[in-house]
Amino acid sequence: MRRMGVKYLYLFLLITLLMGNLFAQDRFPKPEFETDYYQPQTTTPLPDSQLFNYLDVFLLVIGMSLAAYFSLKSRSRRGIFIISLLSVLYFGFFRKGCVCSVGSLQNFALALGNSGYVLPVLVGAVFILPLLFSLFFARSFCSSVCPLGAIQDLLVLKPLKLPSALSKVLSFLPYLYLGFAVLLAFTNSGFIICRYDPFINIFRLSGDFNKIIYTGAFLILCVLIARPYCRFLCPYGVLLGWMSGLSSRHVTITPTECIQCKLCENSCPFDAIEKPSPEKVPETRTAGTKRVGILLLLIPLIIFVSGFALSRLDNILARANPTVRLAEQIRLEDEGVVKETTLESRTFRSQEKTGEQLANESQNIVAQFRIGGWILGAFLGLTFSLKLFGLSVRRKREDYEPNPQHCFSCGRCWESCPVDRAPSAKVKKLGLK
């Protein structure tokens, strides 16, 4: 009987404590002032007007239209240069680089994977519009409108020429980056493109020590290697490249007809000019057919093996997700394997959710990673095999032509083409023409 009494007392105390928490705001009611005290309001400074967001999309369209006009119609390198400058100033330094088309692909993937996240229309527009433009007017977006591309383009001073084997290998990196960024955004594990954006710190003019070192190193790299981010990292460039490959309009080096003078051969700092294929065929037809045949047979195998391998890495990949990491920490603490608690685990224990719910959530995310691993592996296997296939087949090409997928439409090659050009003052003086 007495024990019961103690039990009820505890219950009463517990309830009063809970009530105390619920009505915490009533602990000290606001006093009735006798003097004529004027109570100030909490200020609420507003974000930049929504108009700016509409202006961004408007300027994006205007910029891309002008860039397409300059690169495809009027062939004005100066025009493209001016847009680059304006883009770095407006989208970069004034708007601080967020949200950009490159990053918006993660918002898109997140919206696909999570019904809880709704994509704002303007972010969707920033993602879709450059893709549509590239489908019809090649990569004029990359030439100057993208602030990341533009800032690198302005730093192309005296770039080194990379060995073609190296740049072939490095050009596989954007596919990896794209695949992982989409997988992580889809599973709501974070936006790695934003996190490792090398230029955002210079646009914001802030950042901690590590970030400043990272950005500085990248800017120096941009002087040595032309557009390193666009060529060897940019995940959005992969999508733009596909679109541009389908476009019927591309930058042409000569305004009329190529006279095979080879002057443009080294004019592209991005190695996007393809040479005419050599006349003689170095191997017999059967050998080539056999190689391509083996490759075609290997493609399904490569896709399957890489898909299988990545799906087996689900537990490791899933550790990129904070919920999975927290569930693991909670499990280890509960089993007594680790002694120290973390800030995250302490916070979790102060909340209402149970460990079981968390473990379930974590398992669902790991399952997403398993399926995502299959898709990502298959995608990477396919792109790898297609790269091999591209190396193995020979396309007949008669003129010097920019690669339809990799050309950024910057127009540097025009200057080297002598066709239909007025002779310069120096040439006239020498009486050469």
Binding site: A24, V121, S206
Partner: protein
């Protein structure tokens, strides 16, 4: 003949991809919200872990402490203003909880004091928020100040926030205020 066939095939692919990209865009437009979003802290979820002060990409965090005046008790003994072991309840620096002295205390009438925040000094460390919530009404709480916030696509603080208090809210309702001004009880 051969060439025109090739161009036709390209046109076909181009149209197909254009339609699908356009359709995708349309699907986004239907499913998405009209307003952009901004980052904000839900004061009821915040656990005052002090990360807001250090994780923001700005060198001075865009998160500041704000004061809901109509929730405040105007006490002389303020858990958000004075340190727990303060010898005197005065404005002396050693008795103040705020590391930068950003909370201003003004005498109104006996025994009431008004507390206001100098946001140019506030670093968003939430020490006062913890003190106010533990002992007082919870009238001091953290908010993202939108005149400072760059609205990064991935908020660096939200990424490390242990309680999930960082949310993306519609731009036309950019604050989660307490008291009569707000809708967070």
């Amino acid at each position: 003949m051969d060439n025109s066939k090739k161009i036709n095939r390209r046109k076909f692919f181009q149209t197909a991809v254009a339609l699908s990209v356009g359709g995708l865009g349309g699907a986004i437009a239907i499913k998405s919200t009209k307003a952009n979003t901004v980052w904000q802290i839900d004061p009821n979820l915040c656990t005052q872990c002090e990360k807001c002060a250090t994780e923001c990409v700005l060198s001075q965090s865009a998160v500041k402490c704000v004061h809901a005046y109509d929730v405040c008790g105007y006490c002389e003994l303020c858990g958000g203003y004075s340190t727990p072991d303060a010898i005197h309840l005065d404005t002396a620096a050693e008795n103040q909880l705020c590391p930068t002295g950003a909370i201003k205390r003004t005498y109104i009438e006996d025994p009431y004091f008004e507390y206001s925040i100098d946001e140019t000094k506030c670093i968003g460390c939430a020490k006062c928020v913890k003190g106010c919530g533990a002992f007082g009404n919870g009238s001091l709480y953290l908010q993202v100040r939108h005149d400072l916030c760059l609205n990064c696509n991935e908020c660096a603080i939200a990424r490390v926030c242990p309680s999930g208090a960082f949310k993306q809210v519609p731009v036309d309702k950019p604050y989660l205020l307490r008291g009569e001004q707000g809708y967070v009880k």
